[in-house]
Symmetry: D2
């Protein structure tokens, strides 16, 4: 940690900081500059409360040197993590393609779509049984019935299933049916939920919150891993910016950044990331070219009849073209798909 004192800080201010650092068993190293004094702290600063120092008299600024996450860090584990769920796996050179409707609408719908996306090359079936909706008046999913239909679609096709769980009390139920537990963007910092899926015996797909910094994103993965669950798949799905021509701004550069800092796999969701079908193919290819371990995409046999997110759902034909592009880039990148 580096503490920068204000220009006017006096001896007593500086000594007070030094005493406090000594008090917690770390080693303060004051550096008396021309205009300001800087105090560097030697030792594991992760045990320190940055804010307490920021509040001290005469302190201008406090900066951490070490990231706050450990388990997710590539410094802790150098080799890429491979996450496996049923017949599918993702990470360390293996790409996955999660495809399916926004919401499970009926048994027939989900089984039909599961067959269609599998034929084209999807490796995981997606579909919402519990749907977060900004309006309390919107359709919010079939609930447990939706989970049953998903399981039936898995049985019919062999595709493992990923679906969202929105609240801790339902984690056991959803884990009974699903192969991968999805944490939605709005719940990225729902810590009770993170702890609950951290204790479940299922891989977790963690979507980045709409305004989450990279560090916050990794800290939320740390919550899951800290509970003993090593199987976390990260997912970039667009951040909120001033842009108004897309629903969100897909931040693809987070892919190489995560690869640098963490061993966890990261996939990209261009459906939520763009909100418009015509941008989904180019942005899916771009994601794989940027190094992503896969994509998650909303596909429907009849997008317009989709009960939710119709505007960002592509057809099976569209999806088939998309897969062609991904395979080509994957091959050049030396990835399995």
């Amino acid at each position: 940690m580096i503490i920068t004192m204000k220009k006017g800080a006096n001896e007593a201010d500086i000594q007070h900081v030094i005493d406090r650092v000594n008090g917690v068993g770390l080693e303060p190293r004051p550096l008396y500059g021309i205009e300001r004094t800087v105090i560097a702290i030697i030792g594991d600063e992760r045990t320190l409360d940055v804010e307490a120092f920021q509040a001290m008299h005469g302190v201008e600024d406090v900066k951490r040197v070490l990231a706050q996450y450990k388990l997710v860090s590539r410094e802790t584990k150098a080799e890429d993590t491979l996450v496996t769920a049923g017949a599918a796996s993702v990470g360390n050179g293996t790409l996955c393609v999660m495809a399916g409707p926004c919401a499970v609408e009926s048994r027939d719908q989900i089984v039909e779509i599961a067959h269609a996306v599998k034929d084209v090359g999807a490796t995981v079936l997606r579909g919402g049984a519990f749907k977060p909706r900004s309006s309390p008046y919107s359709f919010n999913g079939l609930g447990e019935k939706g989970l049953v239909y998903l399981a039936q679609a898995r049985e019919a096709t062999g595709l493992p299933v990923v679906t969202e769980v929105m609240t801790p009390a339902l984690v056991p139920l959803v884990a009974e049916y699903a192969d991968i537990l999805q944490i939605g963007a709005r719940n990225m910092q729902n810590y009770d939920l993170l702890r609950a899926v951290g204790q479940a015996r299922r891989p977790v797909l963690l979507k980045r919150g709409m305004s989450a910094t990279l560090e916050e994103f990794l800290m939320s993965a740390e919550y899951v891993m800290k509970e003993g669950n090593p199987d976390v798949i990260l997912c970039e799905r667009g951040i909120r910016t001033f842009n108004d021509y897309t629903r969100n701004t897909l931040d693809l550069c987070v892919v190489p950044a995560v690869k640098q800092l963490s061993h966890l796999p990261i996939i990209v969701d261009p459906s939520h990331g763009t909100g418009r079908p015509e941008y989904i193919i180019p942005m899916s290819k771009a994601a794989i070219a940027a190094g992503a371990d896969g994509i998650m995409v909303e596909v429907h046999t009849d997008p317009e009849r989709s009960v939710s997110d119709a505007a960002q759902t592509i057809t099976v034909e569209h999806f088939s073209r998309l897969m062609g592009g991904l395979r080509h880039i994957a091959q050049y990148e030396g990835k399995r798909l």
Copy 2:
């Protein structure tokens, strides 16, 4: 709802949209312009799924005319709502000042601070028993013991208590001790939690999410009201922008905007909104001058020893000066404080 067709949309595309609108019992009114056709929909569009229309062939853009919230709207209820919790109330000309430490640390600490802030003019005591922290390694509150201490501080001072509840399962417990249930910014779109506090018999303090639009903010309040709880207090606490000189960007203009659209009271939290003690007094005064119904501020008898959020906590002396400024502006605005 207004549907704008693409320039190249043909007769069949237009007819298809018209048929679909008729199919749901609303009235389509096509307007054939020089470059584009626009289809206006007469009727209550709130039952319509905007996205399904956006997904149709030949459609360029779909815009709602009506807001999606009803119960929180000033069109539904013209007069300001007054929310009462114990001895305090807020809204319709009555200001409230919620003050106290970031976290409850001990019985003595919270009782001492409660007395101190009450003496200076606070009307509600704040203090976290369950704390959301971005790191799983940080102190996350005393839990139920913290609630007990808060109740003891209320008993000692008469100040009603506001404290955060983070997960649906704990709503009954927190409601047993607290006078006002706080929903934190990270949980603004935790819909299961919103429903749970909507069913509790306690006023709710709903903090705006870090990247929530005004409409999303009001929709979350609608979730609470829809469950039968009319007592919602909104709270602006800063949004996330590119600014790096403060922790968040306090969006004070949301105050007059909420007043225009809704009958609910809105207060401002300058502690989280700025993250620096030296900005808390000016921004508190600015909030009241902008029309806010109160403020929520972190005060500690020894900020530097505060176990969390020390950097944005003010002293009691500082708080006393702040109250002087608020009273002056409140008087000119004709508000009770």
Copy 3:
């Protein structure tokens, strides 16, 4: 400057950085921590190129300790600057109110409005002769004729005049007519223009760019001052965020932050900052309560007939009410208005 080395940085990497620092005459102080080495630099880092160090092998991060501006800094000049233009002044306890139409439309219009706003209490007349417009097809001002009309309005009322100059070649012309030269938000980093007004003998009103950080804002003021012009008035006019209920997001907290870092006066423009007349009164009062040295507001005797920015222009009656609010707050704050 503080240089943090990567975990894997070796002796040669560290020595290379140290040699380079020595090479420019500063003093490197390496601190060997448990996980990382940190190198603090003693001396005036402002002569150093941060980026060159960031590019070195084994370097993870480089942080400045000192701000890059000098002349605008309160560390250089402790007392508030008072800027005077004609009969008006601003800063160091004196408030100014700049009011008038978005654009000068005719001699009669500007003279009529000048009288109207002066009667109510404006201290400076604003009005655009050269107008920046995002569309090349929009009305972009009367040009020199507009300047002549402004000068006539000044003659008629005694109000000094502020108007925008958009390009270096026109600085001498605009300076001939105007009392204060305005740099618009889009030109905050038009460095040739900043240098040109820095050489003019007129106070400069520098508007914050839509996505300017606080440091960039102050650096642009430094450009003007470096050319020998000490009379810079800063102006917050809203930043661009995800918010969609206002044209921009008025960042009022920048007011106390500027006061802390700089001696220059800062005013607020709630017309551009909100884009809606119903928010202009509350946000003007909030600006003064936050410590601003004045406001700049668009006023028209017939807003709807205004040739530009009609949507954010208020009437003279509205403006009169606004002035009442400002006077009250100014009095409490001990400011002259």
Copy 4:
């Protein structure tokens, strides 16, 4: 244009809007809904001032139906534009790679780098002679001498040259030496400069402003084309968001969006877009996979000695690997490189 009246708007308010629309020769079509009246305008709304309507009594909201640009629109010109500059061209299936140092430092430096990047496959040489710097104390380029060196590098290698022009007065000088005139991000809305390059007989590389919407970006291109210059190359170089792990957030989705709305070529600058060399290769590949017509990248034979932007500059070896990736994707996309 679609005008939505407020719920409480009365007959007179509605009639006033209708009269005003009739007054400008367009056709108003009022639609009386259950809760609100909507007035659609038939005719070319581009001649209308949206704001004047927004300012009218009883008006809630005004929305345009037509985009404000014409010349840049794909509706005006369906086929892709190919821009040619010397031996290079870009657009309509031809990719370009602009490479070179941030700044021209000496004759030897620029000639050496020009040879190096040409050998690896660059098609255009970049290099700054006039450099925009946020600090007035930073190196701001060699000026005309830099232009001379660039011309010498062109002579030595045959590579056409792109360099920035920052102010209208220097357009003739820069156009004398450069093959392509670059408008920097900070000047995207410097309208006098846009007009000046619009009148020059050189292709223009227009960089997107840090907080420019897609519409504003295209409107700035419209400024250039309106002056008679059809050769505009757009360039995405990152937008400003809350992200703090990169210098800017590269918004790659703007590539397919521009392709949909406009016939102009668009390239991507991953150097400024990310600010970190380790992200430049993945993001360059992603750009081409997303459909970009080329990239612009900072390359130096000794990045660490680069006088500016060292932190985002890659080596020639790095650049060579990058070119390999681009060629592979280009081939699959059927583009010439």
